[in-house]
Symmetry: C3
Subunit: 672 residues, 3 copies
Amino acid sequence: MTAPRTPGIAHGGDYHPEQWPEHVWDEDHRLFTLAGIDTLTVGVFAWSLTQPAEDTYDFTLLDRVLDRAAAEGRRACLGTGTAALPPWLARRHPEVNRTDFEGRRHRYGQRHNFCPSSPAYRDASAALASRLAERYADHPALLAWHINNEYGGACYCDLCADAFRGWLTERYQSLDALNDAWWTTFWSHRYTDWDQIEVPSALTEHWRGPDHTAFQGITLDYHRFTTDALLGCFLGEKEAIRAHDPDTPVTTNLMGLYRPVDYHRWAPHLDFASWDNYPPLDAPPTRAALGHDLVRGLKDGAPFWLMEQTPSTTACRDVNPLRRPGELRLATWQAIAHGADAALWFQLRASRGACEKYHGAVIGHAGRADTRVFREVAALGAELASLGGLTLGARTPARTALLFDWDSWWALETSDGPSRLVRYPDVVHAYYRAAREAGADVDVVPVTADLTRYEVVLAPVLHLFPDGLAERLEEVARRGGTVLATFLTARCDPYDRAFPADVPGPLAPLMGIRVDEWDARPADVAHPVDLGEVRADARLVFEIVLPRGAEPVGTYGADFYAGTPAVTRHRHGAGEGWYVATALDQPGVDHVVRRVLARHRLLGPYAAHPGIETAARVTPDGTRLLFVLNHHTAPARPPAHAAVTDLLTGRRHAAGEPLALDPLGVAVLRPQ
Amino acid sequence: MTAPRTPGIAHGGDYHPEQWPEHVWDEDHRLFTLAGIDTLTVGVFAWSLTQPAEDTYDFTLLDRVLDRAAAEGRRACLGTGTAALPPWLARRHPEVNRTDFEGRRHRYGQRHNFCPSSPAYRDASAALASRLAERYADHPALLAWHINNEYGGACYCDLCADAFRGWLTERYQSLDALNDAWWTTFWSHRYTDWDQIEVPSALTEHWRGPDHTAFQGITLDYHRFTTDALLGCFLGEKEAIRAHDPDTPVTTNLMGLYRPVDYHRWAPHLDFASWDNYPPLDAPPTRAALGHDLVRGLKDGAPFWLMEQTPSTTACRDVNPLRRPGELRLATWQAIAHGADAALWFQLRASRGACEKYHGAVIGHAGRADTRVFREVAALGAELASLGGLTLGARTPARTALLFDWDSWWALETSDGPSRLVRYPDVVHAYYRAAREAGADVDVVPVTADLTRYEVVLAPVLHLFPDGLAERLEEVARRGGTVLATFLTARCDPYDRAFPADVPGPLAPLMGIRVDEWDARPADVAHPVDLGEVRADARLVFEIVLPRGAEPVGTYGADFYAGTPAVTRHRHGAGEGWYVATALDQPGVDHVVRRVLARHRLLGPYAAHPGIETAARVTPDGTRLLFVLNHHTAPARPPAHAAVTDLLTGRRHAAGEPLALDPLGVAVLRPQ
Amino acid sequence: MTAPRTPGIAHGGDYHPEQWPEHVWDEDHRLFTLAGIDTLTVGVFAWSLTQPAEDTYDFTLLDRVLDRAAAEGRRACLGTGTAALPPWLARRHPEVNRTDFEGRRHRYGQRHNFCPSSPAYRDASAALASRLAERYADHPALLAWHINNEYGGACYCDLCADAFRGWLTERYQSLDALNDAWWTTFWSHRYTDWDQIEVPSALTEHWRGPDHTAFQGITLDYHRFTTDALLGCFLGEKEAIRAHDPDTPVTTNLMGLYRPVDYHRWAPHLDFASWDNYPPLDAPPTRAALGHDLVRGLKDGAPFWLMEQTPSTTACRDVNPLRRPGELRLATWQAIAHGADAALWFQLRASRGACEKYHGAVIGHAGRADTRVFREVAALGAELASLGGLTLGARTPARTALLFDWDSWWALETSDGPSRLVRYPDVVHAYYRAAREAGADVDVVPVTADLTRYEVVLAPVLHLFPDGLAERLEEVARRGGTVLATFLTARCDPYDRAFPADVPGPLAPLMGIRVDEWDARPADVAHPVDLGEVRADARLVFEIVLPRGAEPVGTYGADFYAGTPAVTRHRHGAGEGWYVATALDQPGVDHVVRRVLARHRLLGPYAAHPGIETAARVTPDGTRLLFVLNHHTAPARPPAHAAVTDLLTGRRHAAGEPLALDPLGVAVLRPQ
């Protein structure tokens, strides 16, 4: 089962016609045509209409919406709508409402408000999915199933506590094994009955919020349990759908670098991956790219769908800036460059009320086609249409892998010591950014991924280290590859127990070092690191490294460890193990990563052009397309790396001839 | 029914003799006489003494206090004392304690601690008021009834939930109307039974506190409901009083710019308005003035009572500075200049214990008359006495109105998007300040006010826009007036639904513009705005304006909207509509507002003298008094605007002759 | 009963062998020998092993641990282990779990998690202590009993509420007395039944957390009650031990400047004092020293035990820096210089799991002896051994006392007004630091201490002032001593009621001043104070002082009180009373304190050498040792103050000859 089949890059977005009278729908479809919109996500928040009471289903709305879509030649991702409960369900079965981290049972409100362990919720959501599949499996407009919406959050109720205990029983089989894994002898926590185990919350093991826990082991396992509990909800609906519809692809929209849910556990169960791209305020372009590459990595490099992005502003942030002119186009092409086969907006028409009424939309409150945003979306729609289906199914030919690991994320950010200031995604992003800005395509993959296809493997702050990974990384080096690890990598086993061995534990042989101790300083303290050609700043954590075979590549320039290694390189077989013992600033990370990439000739043709991003995709017929994205608000004229044709303009460029990239401009280059 | 009748400006304050043995009372009255104090607010926190048990009333204390006051020639505002529960009531009827926003039922403690929907509280408070009125209606010392104290806060208990549902049923009549108003189709919230509606709290629609709600509609309505629920408590007591005392004026002390309660809904039920003036730390003088003018606007410009202010320090803040020498006098005269007919202190004698023991008082812990504060109060008392009753009943001849609207306050500050950094009172104050510092008298009025008497109407960030207001504002312009609106004005109807129309909705014709989109930036980003003669900075929100008849008055100087209008003017009839599309800094607002006032010759005679405030009052006999307040700590010598007599010194000044104002000095000028 | 008898300074620390298989124990003892470790703290978190079920005790572990220790010639502080509940106890008796300040009953988790009023906890902990004492009273390894661990925190459950009411009944005898003490007439709080009293929490008298209370009186009493409730738990265990073991010294490890528990109330019940020294990040060395001197003051100057310190890093902070090379040695000698007779580490071997796995340890995860930390510990162990028992029992010959008072700490930091920014330990530390850096030995003592032995008494911010203290301080002055008080001293009686008198209340005669009022400003406002020879900055609180016999020593240089006294001196008998009316910066405090000390010739020989700390101890045989500590990271060569021998090097120095102190170096000087 793979992604839906479409003639070209799907273009459209979330559409909530139930909020308006039908005469507005006419106007909507007229504007959709103007904007080249062919794909609608519908039904995502319609539960209270499709099932207005426990025993009553009413498909009038969806019938009309889907029939209208089909009549106009559009297709739909049909939401099961189970992310937002109808009021009657919460009232009738109060246990479907979540109990929060503070131990408070909530009442009806908001969305993403269901207890994933509640039988009432699981039954009701699966029943609704079943009814929908029964009715619409063969509808001509049906393109894909969109189960629920942005799964996330956690519940701490008694039902979840019971389910957690069951999950633990299955995982550990015996209390001895559990006591050993969680290191419960510490602080007299040895459990003698499964019933003694409480969910880790503000009322039990936590203080100062979800990241401060007395026992990292139980907290880690609750993250895993929550991932599985939510997945269980998804699978309940998927199974209900499959009973009536064996073929239509099923997905749910993920959220990229979203800490609460380990998407690697979900990936096998998605027919295709899709995600909602809302990068942090003022983030560099590589932050969104990291999300794309992470989501592409879920399904072993298969194309994904960009299920949501805003055409202009968000609403939920303290400050919600506009996307500047050209940004929505550039962001969309970036998604496609990284593997998206669809470009969908949230949302097609702006809500009049509630908390997303100021969220950007293709069609604003006035319903106009002559707004800046509508014009840009329509122009992009035309451009996508002109490209046709060429990129569909194309894959990224990456030779660099970055290991991304939710377990390490959870462990690192719930660790007491050495520093609460180290944030997993920030360090990961720094290495990803360095590689991407150097022009390397990067696969962001789980620690279980097949590494035989990569020449460079980056393992930043991979705090938890599974069995066998060290051997697989050594094999990468043995055959000539380079493995890069950093401070706080390979510290603990998957139960967050420190290895009873020299740091970095199982990686020590490959890295050729021993870390004797580690200093930490507040964020305003920077130590210089001499990297030979450049001098960088380092912050937060400073591991003190004793070389055991490795040679220093960079040295600390301050404190009592001045002159000792901050970055090391160790020959191993035909390859190398690199260790970065501190949080270098971006120029420092750039320098180190470029040295590694250069060794493998993986620097891209525009590595010397800051702000020019490139990404390659190889189409099913073997054509290697190079996407060139100008993130500057000024024009750029980098020389063509080869004789190419720009598919967006039809222009041909000889090798070395300047490409003329507009501000925020894009080129899709095919070799001539 | 109007304010109490007094021979001059009432002078006195809160007095809690129940905290001391009676021999201290002797000393108190001796000091009151020294300080010219004639008015005592008593009984405000005496419930546990006047009703020591459910079936026991004991008026010994109040009898003595009132008899003593009468004997000494003083009069009293008699508090009903229902703002602070006695312990027995909370113990016997736990449901009188509030349930907070987090859903936690409180137990006995603090004050303002009663559930306004609780029958036990309503019954007990009305019964107490009834007993007091029965006993003291004819007491010679009785000057006014002071019901409860600083009403505020909200409760989220089940009694309130029931009452809220009843309130909603009355307001909407049908669930369809409610669903439509709250736009519940969004996020699947369509209610099918009134019982499904929960109070909007941290356990239901809110996250990150009271300002973040999934549904602005329900949260807005809960603010309105709370306003009405508290008003219901007030009315219950007032009715009980009126049964025994048809004549004595009734009030409660308000708190000026206090967000939780919409005082415009209360105004018709107050016989006279009164308030407690505790301006924010280091606020400019116009901040207190805005409070005075807002409270004066409650009763259509009738004089109000300054019910509380501190003679020296507050106690409840992190930092509690002293009022500098002269400040208590200046602040009192400012209140009078803006319409106060009374000047009362909190408090007359400092408490020895609990959380207000360090709150400033006329008489300190040592009971001395030779403190700086006592001397200043006594001097002021003498000065007030010397002025006599001249200012009583005088009214402010304002030709500028500022529309103040609690609905807009609530809506703006609970809005998701465009910016959480816009604070309603700050923007309102910026416009008020500009007008006041330019010397214009300003009426701060509700959106329902009669606008026919004004030449200039300011409508800053009036986010919610009621039916008919646009027409009334157009009428102002048609007859030659000027209407000024700002960014985020006229965005939504009273249910917080965005108008399905061009921004600024119903105001668009008067403003002659269309707002196409709006940018937001963090507080540290300033964009220059070219206003012709001056260049100002703008922050937070930047609306992009397409003129549709209006002419630009100022233009943005940065970002992709550089060169587009930031301020516009549109001729309409004989008048003008001005639109300010961004949050200008104070010099920018000053410039715009002065241009508007100049058009109507409303700049005051001291507009060019920063720090010199003027305010006019017209006495019942038609005398136009001009209060001149020197907010500098240096002397000032502005030229007299006309031939005048300073009533405080008796000095006469020819027009143009310098007034000699002391540091923080005051003059009350009568035309010769 | 005094401290345990040891041949020399005990060296060792917390040891949790139960976390590892026994083969690791072999390695542990080998390393202990290498490091000169002779003392183990064991059993502190072993409850779930020693009592795995309600009716089952199992001493296998402790038998082995103690037998092994004895066999290797080591001795043990045996923990009763009652600080961390076993899971079964929490499950079986849910009421042993605490209810927090927010009113939430917790479930099992963390440690320090027991309700001190719970009979189930008290019974179970005393029973366990009894069993342990019965079994190990005569064990050859037993050196001391270590009851519980770091007692602290508070509970707000109904059991505590009942116990609190009982405690109040005993304290006040009548509700009238209680109402009077708490000043309940304020805000209508007059209680008419003991049952009406609720515990002061977020659900009753508090807002914005534990420091904001409507009634300081109830909150103060709850701090006292909590101190007594926890003490009751300690005494329950101690009594159970004494039934079987009349002789072995009993202690519990305190936490120095730990606000929640008034250690002065505990002191009489400890056989010897011990504490855990974890100074704040980047604190100056005097901060740890203040802790030492406070703990030494608990037992009237008797030596104490340093029960815990980290050899390298903490784990629980946001940022956990390393102790630099030499710091663990210097910190240990500082403890000894201030009266420690033991030097114990937390911990001997690093935990593999849970929240302290990254806490520093003598033996790290790799179990190596060749780490920097192990080498430094071992070198120190050798050095301690070489010194032998010379310092045991030595006492500090201080002639300066600093009054430290938990009541004042609580009162000051829960006070509304004048400033929330004044922190009790910061002001106390400023005065302590000034005296210590000037070379004066300081006893930190309770307000009840015998003051006849002191020439200088410092009473900074002693907000609550007990009966009779003024007379005792006047007596100090009368006989020639100097008493120094500061702003916010002597404001209230022990019930936190402001004295109905001139400020500073009972101290006014000694100080010869009257404080008329007090200003407060934000932390970024500094006012200059002219101290004659130096000019200092003052912040936060500025009392306005009217001299009534005193002479000004320093004057304010800003605001309306410019030119008025900021520091005064008043002759009284043969001595003086000094008053510092504002929060001077450290140079200002230094100047004032040195003037006072100079008057009594109490400046130390190295007062002119910043960073060189000295501390004297007089051994039982009368030898006066001078510890000289170089807090610089550079060498220092101060001249010897007399002819001395350095006991650590054996070197002799003539008077005036330079001492050669290494960076962070130490000398222990004995007169020749």
